[in-house]
Symmetry: C2
Subunit: 333 residues, 2 copies
């Protein structure tokens, strides 16, 4: 029993092949009664369109390539989840490429997806080099960057409003009475790091607090980084800061570990504010105050944007969206 194809349905319904085609893709040029008859026949035989043939004809597979830096990072996972949900709604499949935050793998991923002939690509770029993005532009495949973007590159993207995030976090700490607020920030090549710094500085400025260079530490990406910077600050900076603002919840975790070791009580002796609001942050011994990024939504918006590009063909338009973030106050501040 081989696969049921258009020809079989045509024979069953006593019509031609392309009448069946018309019925299946409900085009206007067909009488409702023949259409009905055809659909009956299709149903009866259990017809399923052959995706490969359709793709060959139309040169579209209804597949979107997703290049993600690290799916096992609880920051990215919900983003991908959001993508999946939206893609499903819009009738697209997602083909996944994990780069492990590695540049070469990222370039490799772009090539693989080109080979896969995906309709479009969404990608959370590793930002140390922009080779992959440039290559992506060369292929001509429509794409949208997610979560991270390049200030000096004209691409579509959807990201978080990190200037706002930095501002909210710093303002919150200032309201709590802190004036010496350490900022353990990400590396400068990271778009988010730069924007959060701007927001942080603005908040301090509005309260006439000067930015103390010895309290700004970079780069920090991991828990270990957070730990090391904090240890260094506690050892060498006087007066010690009474608050720590971290580039990510991961980094905040390292900060809290260092504070614990140095018997600095959180939040009594020092406040800590993280960033991202990954799942675990609310489960900690001392639940973490953090800046929540709408991760699922970010993924959804990215897919939405891409599909609009794909289907409406509004090629010229540059869409650059920054989603609002939200301060979530918990026990650590």
């Amino acid at each position: 029993m081989s696969r049921v194809v258009l020809k079989d349905v045509a024979r069953e319904a006593g019509v031609s092949i392309n009448t069946v085609s018309r019925a299946m893709n409900d085009r206007p040029e067909i009488s409702s009664e023949t259409k009905e008859r055809v659909l009956q026949a299709a149903m009866k035989l259990g017809y399923k369109p052959n995706k490969f043939a359709r793709a060959l004809r139309s040169n579209k597979a209804e597949i979107i390539g997703v290049i993600v830096a690290d799916i096992s990072n609880p920051f990215f996972a919900p983003i991908v989840q959001g993508m999946g949900r939206k893609a499903r709604c819009l009738g697209y499949g997602l083909i996944l490429q994990d780069t492990g935050e590695d540049c070469d793998t990222e370039v490799e991923a772009v090539r693989t997806l080109e080979y896969e002939q995906v309709d479009g690509v969404v990608m959370t770029p590793v930002q140390t080099h922009k080779r992959a993005v440039l290559e992506l532009q060369d292929t001509g495949v429509p794409f949208v960057l997610v979560a991270r973007h390049f200030a000096d590159l004209e691409t579509d993207f959807v990201a978080a409003d990190d200037a706002q995030g930095g501002y909210l976090a710093a303002s919150h700490l200032i309201e709590r009475g802190h004036t010496r607020i350490a900022f353990i920030n990400g590396p400068d090549y990271n778009s988010s790091a730069r924007e959060r710094m701007a927001g942080y500085a603005q908040a301090l400025d509005e309260h006439a607090i000067s930015v103390a260079p010895e309290l700004i530490r970079q780069p920090a990406l991991t828990m270990e980084d957070g730990y090391a910077h904090t240890m260094d600050i506690l050892a060498r900076v006087r007066p010690s800061p009474t608050a720590f603002f971290a580039f990510s919840d991961y980094v905040a975790l390292g900060i809290m570990q260092a504070l614990r070791e140095k018997k600095v009580n959180v939040p009594i002796d020092a406040a800590v504010v993280g960033y991202d609001d990954i799942t675990f942050s609310s489960c900690l011994d001392v639940a973490l105050t953090t800046v929540r990024i709408p991760k699922q939504e970010m993924g959804e918006v990215a897919i939405q944007m891409l599909v609009e590009k794909l289907e409406r063909k509004n090629v010229g338009l540059r869409e650059q969206i920054k989603l609002p973030v939200e301060l979530v106050v918990r026990a650590s501040s």
Copy 2:
């Protein structure tokens, strides 16, 4: 400038279309010099094979469907990561479906993947119903279950050796001098829960400790479950257990929260052992002793198994693999 196809390369090299095809797929029936010339021409023109045409012809897309219960669960994410890595090595792409641990979505996912005409499927089944698996069997698409399986269903699967895991955890606690070991286990429909219970019971039995029914609690899947069961145990069971073995690190987190609230010091007054070894478990205030499942490897093995089925066509063979687990002792026990 439209796409370069076989015909273009053929013209450039001065040969026929299918000589080019032979060269590209390096078949034996071609002289090495013409082959060389063809490859030169292909390179020069930048030929890339059309995946859709190839798929139509061969009825294979070299795509594997992945149905995962919850990609934002730090237990599943590394599994998917492992799958991605192995799939890439073997020349397959991964198309992702997240079910959100929901049965209906799972059935939906199976249908979608059938529609996508994937070559095969790997899936971490939601175990409350087996409808999706049955439907998957009906489609005839080769598949492998991952992480979870059904005792009463003859399918290929790769999972963790949970009997061993339960045994290791309980033995460890016994060695530490505990005899009243609470087991906050998963629901009985879960294959892992049943097998871990067996391992736990065996360890107790070997040390002539009887299994106390009041210390066995089910079902627990979330942190909240762990919290609730622990609170109940602390309130009503005497003598109180001196150790807690959790179905997952998540559940353990709930247990630890309850203990903290009740001023039970870990590990002085009570030991806690989790399961899975998700990333965060080592970052906790009191780092969690746990049973490590080789998550990445599990994903890799699943893909490996599936691809062998696909390519070797060894349909008859049932492969059921249980990967060894490892006890990771940290501060909580």
